[in-house]
């Protein structure tokens, strides 16, 4: 039940807006996360944005995981 999905903000309008995830557009409330901008990735839970995805952090983790995967492929 505590599922929250990363979704990209495509419209912001006075506390509400639209996000896109996997091609589906959904209405969202920004009441718990104001100051969101179009293009941000947010964690969407039950119609509310709960947190901004820290993209720099996410990219860094993805880079590390890619290195790990590469090391694995080289060993195999």
């Amino acid at each position: 039940m505590c599922l929250a999905i990363p979704a990209r903000v495509i419209e912001v309008n006075e506390g509400v807006g639209l996000v896109e995830l996997a091609g589906v557009v959904r209405e969202v409330s920004f009441m718990l996360l104001p100051n969101v901008r179009v293009g941000d990735y947010v964690l969407l839970h039950a119609g509310y944005a709960l947190q901004r995805v820290d993209e720099a952090d996410a990219e860094e983790t993805i880079r590390l995981l890619a290195e790990i995967a590469e090391a694995g492929r080289n060993q195999a």
């Binding site: 039940m1 505590c2 599922l3 929250a4 999905i5 990363p6 990209r8 995830l21 996997a22 091609g23 409330s29 009441m31 718990l32 996360l33 104001p34 990735y41 964690l43 839970h45 039950a46 119609g47 509310y48 709960l50 947190q51 995805v53 820290d54 993209e55 952090d57 996410a58 983790t61 993805i62 995981l65 890619a66 790990i68 995967a69 590469e70 090391a71 694995g72 492929r73 060993q75 195999a76």
Partner: protein
């Protein structure tokens, strides 16, 4: 269509390397508890158990909100739904969970006006568009969900709605983790802490668990590589004799959490003692509306007397929720109790531990 920040955390080659690292880091047998039901589902779905060396045992905890909701609370929701002029709305996960005598889904089939909503905001809309009916939102969920209910209530207040009510069975996760440690029924060597609860509460509430009880905590994300990395971090702590709160899921969880979400949650709710299925009454582990929001409190507005509660005979859901047994140890599992004919909530909910074992157990 690929999903950004999801797909990248499912790479098979990286999973194999992380599994090797876990094997190298593991020495003595350890019990790691994943507290959250969403973790339980992810661990099963992605076959994480199958990647772990035998000394690393994963226990599922009490982190499925509908599973820990007591029969008494479900019975009360059904009684509320049966009142004249009442529409009861709730999240889909709650519908099939059996109370003492029936589920909300059965009550609906018998004529009660029960609606499934995706968001608490939808229930505010239902109240606004049906002003002649009373709309009760049956509010279930942990710290992830409670702020969204608080926000919806504040919206209903702003709209001046007088037909919107909340029946809150919200629960808080850290008190349940401490209750498990206090009971000493199961040895827990490390907690995989719930990622999305922590998006709201941050890392601080787990500090007493790490410091006072000496149990390492790692807040993990939900993709398989997140979980594997979280397990590796826990094993490192155990190996080095540390017990700290660490954040693996740093792309979503800040140490301070989401202070605004917490502020709204505590503006509307205050803590109360709450009954958990399997764990009994845990002090300060529930949320009820503050006195100034009494007008929205379904328990105040509607005097219902549900019939005496009764437990599901032979069902060991409570022991499963405490990590004392695994589902196959329950005599009903996969025999009298299946997802098609569930007896207890842990087999009903998609996040239930029994449902996970039933669907994926033999393959992982």
């Amino acid at each position: 269509m690929t999903m950004r920040y999801v797909q990248e955390f499912r790479d098979g080659a990286a999973a194999q390397v992380l599994a090797h690292r876990i094997e190298r880091a593991s020495s003595r047998p350890v019990n790691l508890m994943e507290v959250c039901g969403t973790h339980t589902v992810s661990i099963f779905r992605h076959g994480v158990r199958g990647l772990l060396p035998p000394p690393v045992n994963l226990l599922s905890g009490p982190g499925c909100p509908v599973c820990v909701t007591t029969n008494a609370d479900i019975d009360k929701a059904i009684a509320l739904a049966g009142q004249n002029g009442v529409t009861l709305a709730t999240f889909g996960d709650m519908m099939k969970v059996p109370g003492s005598y029936q589920s909300l889904q059965q009550a609906k089939a018998d004529g009660a006006d029960v609606r499934v909503v995706y968001s608490a905001r939808d229930s505010v809309r239902l109240a606004r568009d049906n002003s002649q009916r009373s709309l009760i939102f049956f509010a279930v969920g942990f710290e992830t969900t409670a702020p969204t209910i608080a926000a919806a209530l504040l919206e209903a207040e702003q709209l001046g709605l007088t037909n919107f009510y909340i029946f809150s069975v919200h629960k808080l996760v850290p008190p349940a983790m401490i209750a498990l440690l206090e009971s000493r029924e199961v040895r827990i060597d490390g907690f995989i802490c719930p990622g999305h609860v922590s998006v709201v509460i941050g890392s601080q509430p787990y500090e007493p668990i790490a410091r006072r009880y000496g149990v390492p905590c790692v807040i993990s994300g939900f993709e398989p590589l997140d979980v594997l990395q979280g397990i590796e971090m826990l094993l490192r702590q155990i190996g080095e004799g540390r017990s700290e709160v660490e954040i693996q899921y740093s792309r979503g969880v800040r140490p301070e959490g989401n202070p605004l979400a917490r502020e709204l949650m505590y503006r509307v709710f205050e803590e109360r003692d709450a009954d958990w299925r399997g764990l009994g009454c845990i002090p300060g582990s529930g949320l009820k509306l503050r006195p100034q929001y009494r007008a929205f409190d379904a328990e105040e507005a509607f005097a219902v007397k549900p019939p005496p509660t009764k437990e599901h005979r032979g069902c060991l859901c409570g022991d499963v929720l405490r990590g004392v047994i695994t589902p196959p140890q329950c005599p009903l599992f996969a025999k009298a109790c299946t997802p098609e004919k569930p007896i207890g909530p842990c087999m009903v909910s998609s996040e239930g531990t029994c449902a996970g074992w039933y669907q994926y157990g033999s393959s992982s």
